[in-house]
Symmetry: D3
């Protein structure tokens, strides 16, 4: 993650939560009171986002010290201590919710990704995210995907060409669409085409695109369609694949499967901050 962007975002998030003052904590804790706190897992999962801790608390008090006991990507068991925080109690209590909200969400995504990877259980097929991320948090969520064992799909509409049904319909054909795109495109960007039928797959192959997506296809359809694709072209399964039928895609030979729910429907991993004493 870009640390300059991260710091600016945490500032914005702290501002959203604090507004002009933590009126409870500042009334009760004098500024100079220091203490120790622990960040602890309250459920099993995969950790993601430990940089959030130092960034958040040090923005509130430069002298806060964070000792990390776990790293991003580590398995957490309920009760595991993730980090120790020493310093201003005010900073701890005022920053707690922002730090945990983000850490819990990222760890929730990492945990769900790890579950998807385990469910798929095929090291030749990557699990990837989509652009169905939370507005404003794409950098964090894409990073969490990698902590859970997934890899990233494109970050934005600028990174890669993805020719979808609406593009094909307007252009008249996959060939026309690819031709239009190639006229404007440099050599460093990949082109992916969404396909549903054998005819479309053959046309995409004929245009030598970089990636062919099988959109909303069953594992059986995918196996049939992927026979039409040479090794030099990557293949993606996407659309309508739930956590419950993901295992059915284990024996397809696509290169990667993208799953929107890794980011749009996530349960926060329960993590808490416990002040241990002043």
């Amino acid at each position: 993650m870009n640390k300059i962007a991260l710091t600016d975002a945490i500032k914005q998030f702290l501002y959203e939560d604090i507004n002009y003052k933590d009126i409870t904590t500042t009334a009760i804790f004098p500024e100079h009171i220091v203490g120790t706190a622990t960040i602890q897992a309250k459920a099993d999962g995969i950790l993601s986002g430990v940089d959030i801790l130092s960034t958040t608390f040090q923005l509130l008090d430069n002298d806060v010290q964070i000792e990390l006991l776990k790293n991003d990507g580590d398995l957490l068991l309920k009760g595991d201590r993730i980090a120790t925080i020493k310093g201003s109690i005010r900073a701890m209590l005022t920053g707690e919710r922002v730090a945990l909200n983000l850490l819990q969400k990222m760890s929730g995504i990492a945990t769900l990704t790890a579950t998807a990877v385990a469910t798929l259980n095929n090291p030749n097929i990557n699990v990837t995210d989509t652009r169905k991320t939370t507005p404003g948090l794409r950098m964090y969520e894409k990073y969490a995907i990698t902590c859970g064992g997934g890899v990233n799909h494109r970050f934005s509409l600028s990174d890669m060409v993805m020719i979808k049904d609406n593009h094909i319909a307007f252009a008249g054909s996959i060939t026309n669409a690819v031709t239009l795109v190639r006229k404007q495109l440099g050599p460093v960007i990949k082109i992916e085409v969404e396909t549903e039928t054998a005819e479309q797959v053959r046309e995409a192959v004929a245009n030598n695109v970089d990636i062919i997506m099988f959109d909303n296809r069953t594992p059986e359809e995918i196996n049939e369609l992927s026979r039409l694709v040479p090794e030099t072209i990557l293949t993606e399964a996407s659309g309508g694949i739930t956590i419950h039928d993901l295992h059915r895609y284990r024996h397809t030979n696509v290169d990667f499967i993208s799953l929107g729910w890794l980011t749009h429907s996530v349960h926060a991993l329960d993590i808490s901050l416990i002040v241990e004493g002043e």
Copy 2:
């Protein structure tokens, strides 16, 4: 929702998704091509966030027209048309993901809130959110809670005093904590105290606070504790109440129940944009 803040946020979200250009759509669709699209529910739920649609698409093309067929708070059945969009196809395809990501999240929260309200099934007990919202999206998520039939808890650390266990421990007693807070506080802000025991409830009552929270208490404990609280003081149940045991709180007589999972663990409501033709 503050429309000035909303517009600025959507700009930021569009920038995150578009980066410098939608390289696929701009290569294929000339700027002047117009058409019609429909926003459609693909699952049952409660709608929240229709203002996102006009804000997003009109930022991309000032001439896009949105006709709303449903309003925030409406029940959606799978297949229901939510809005019709007329105008630039480029704007529709380029803005689609940002608009849907936010609309789906907000509607997911509204739907979950409505489920919680129905599960609780007691018009005398309000369902409220917490500060466990997605960083950067608090305004949107708090608004979605109200679309689902909930009401809002405090927005930030500045809006209300919430005296928690750490504050009480450091101050020495609830009485001390309330006294410290009252020395700095104006008359327009409420004071809530987190309690676990009868003794704590009695002390909070003696201090005439505005709201008493029963933290992590069973319905039975709550019923016992709430007998200690006069009618002029509001009561809140909070902590560890899942969707599965929420019904058990139906017959408590608290004024409201706050539920973190209304915002931190939400499934996006499936909503799609369908280009109908150019």
Copy 3:
């Protein structure tokens, strides 16, 4: 005050005053020249805003050291030394005006508030501010009010409900207005109603609002009206109370009196920075 917000604001204020360079000071003082300066009161008053000093000068040179000799809320007599600054002379001369402009304004507000409190001379009646603050400086000015012995009224239109004459007129009655508001409101926000007549006060009481304001009433009228209000409802006097007739409100039994001129018509407290030598 939220220190993250404060730092960002001081950056903006310094940018406004410096623009691209302090062309006089940088031409004359080499970057490495250090020295000592004193911040000194040139008139009697109450100090507010000492955090401005370290924030301003350290933004210009990280190594500047500030020793505070007075704290916020302290009484200043003409000639009192407020702080000693050691470090870069460039930083001192370039930051002087921004630091003093803000410190003088805040101390002016604190001083005026203290005068109001002393004039009122009744510990049972709080002096509060209003929303008539300088655009962009609300956090600073509300804080200065507390340094002078006042307490804060609401910070924004989101913090509290204030039902005014226009709201009542459109809703048809206080009862209608309160009912409309309560339908959308959570349990954590107070409701205040502006009243002018006994009938209105009775209606507000019947609706069990949190605060009743007596708008533009004489002390005599207030004493009559406040008899209609039970102890559980707070009362506010507001409107048209000048510094000259504030003492006449000493024997009303309102809970607080709000005064717009505490922030909208303030004389800067004269404070200067004196470079003591290099």
Copy 4:
């Protein structure tokens, strides 16, 4: 005033005052309700800042129409109508405080400036402001000065060289200071030197600076010192001149007098918004 900067600033000011929602007005007034309001002077003075009205209200609702009945610089008598506003009542009530806070402050400054000009009562001597403006509001306050009949001194530390006592002391002499500055300065920026003694004035003249300031001098001293200055060099009186002794400077022959209190110690001009009916 730069209208792009003005719009961005008003957005920030509205955000400060509204935060996430005007919870009172939105609960009571449906979005479509329109009406008429009048902006009215409640005291005599000089108007400044009418552009604030359209900018503020149209940011909240694009369809609000403002008809100006008075212009910046006009004399206002108590009761004069300044503008008529037609459109969304929500926009009027929600934007009222921000618009009035700024309009009242600017008109207060214009009024005070006009008083100073009238007190001085010498068309050959300009009244100017200083850099003692409210942080964040310099553009507005400098503009208000011109509405009141004053002219602007420098806007920032970049616009003009002002050699003060600390600069002279470190450089060793006015001559040294001017020499150092001229080495780095282009031909388009004026140089002013602060002087207190005849010797200093003679040295400044010898260096052919553009402006000589007589710092904290009596009218009599100024008359003596200004005889040393040729016509091609402008002269400024500054420092310690109050509204009460300003008339004593009427018969000096300085070109301008700068007065910090025009901006740092201003009373808001009483102006109100009256909703006339829906």
Copy 5:
């Protein structure tokens, strides 16, 4: 170009140039004066950036109308009229410099790119830019490259992997470096490796990277090295290729040549705004 980003950037550029007011134009032209102006080429070249015109002038006055007579990518001959502007003279004169500074720079880049393309004179070899763009203007400059007939290399350090000498040295080998990168990379991003020797090229080929760059190689060396690369891998020539020896690369068979001077050493194309009369 992303129009939301463009509008925000032009606002910033206008603020830089106008600061608080165009003091000359506002003193002389009343606000209501309208007229016509022409944007005209004063040298031959390729046009890029016509969207700058409407964005700049309409930010200053919403009613300004722009009629485009030339489009981006068009050849301009000295004297050609590019656009007609009708509306506020104030807006024209105040926005002139910002609009021209950007339009001239972009057209200068487009012109230089077209020269490079013509010099190379081989339709099978693309001309691309580099990351040696002006800080803050990458989107504009990359777009101008495409107007001149070039295509874009990567936009940022996130879009593509580029393994350079320092990376190879630390990893120990190209193979190690590619392996490290592939462990973290999704399937949608290309990998390019910088090579200088035949051995390096062979290692890059063995790792099946997407693009091989021949760094600082002569045309002869490139022809030799490129024989080692299969058709499925793209090749790039880069480093030390000046406008004077670019023609020598015409008969290499690389896929593209990247040229830093297309953006870092550009002459503005002379374009002027001529007010035709009011």
Copy 6:
């Protein structure tokens, strides 16, 4: 240069180049790897912008140390070492392009300015810049001009009055234009008038403006026109003066010559960062 503005700008430039991550460097270099790098001139020229180095690299890693071996304004010979950088290799490689892009551009401007000064070869005539700077980079480019031995013309439309042909035409005469401007102007801002004919020069002199510009005049015309101007008024030559005919202006007696190409048509000075070893 204003260091607060500089830091904020470098943050923005780094964000433009890094986007969410330097995916190559972070995959290959662990975070803790430190090393040494040298900034080296690869061509002769004048250095400008060394503050860019520490600002850029320390934003990426606070512990990076920069030792400067050359200062702004120093002559660089090809091969000269400018600075040594010690610390995080990641920070060096990730920040390299932003730091060099800016340093090279600024040094290119300083070098071109020094060439212009040397070509003119008359210490009585200053070389100045114009407002034809790169949008967003005016502060940097104006500073670079001073490093090369030039001085700055006005920074913005607010700093100085410049009455051009369009202003004169609309006002009816130079006299009218000056009169209109003087009505609104304070005493601290200079007035310059653009002239082409003897008649115009005489009118400008009669109005006692501060600076008279000879627009697009030959050296011979300038010598004739400048005889009409008293010593107390400065003179400027501007318009159409190329690097090739600049020497012809050596024997004019103008006070300064402004040259747009110093900033709008600059070649980057070749400077590189060489990692010396880890």
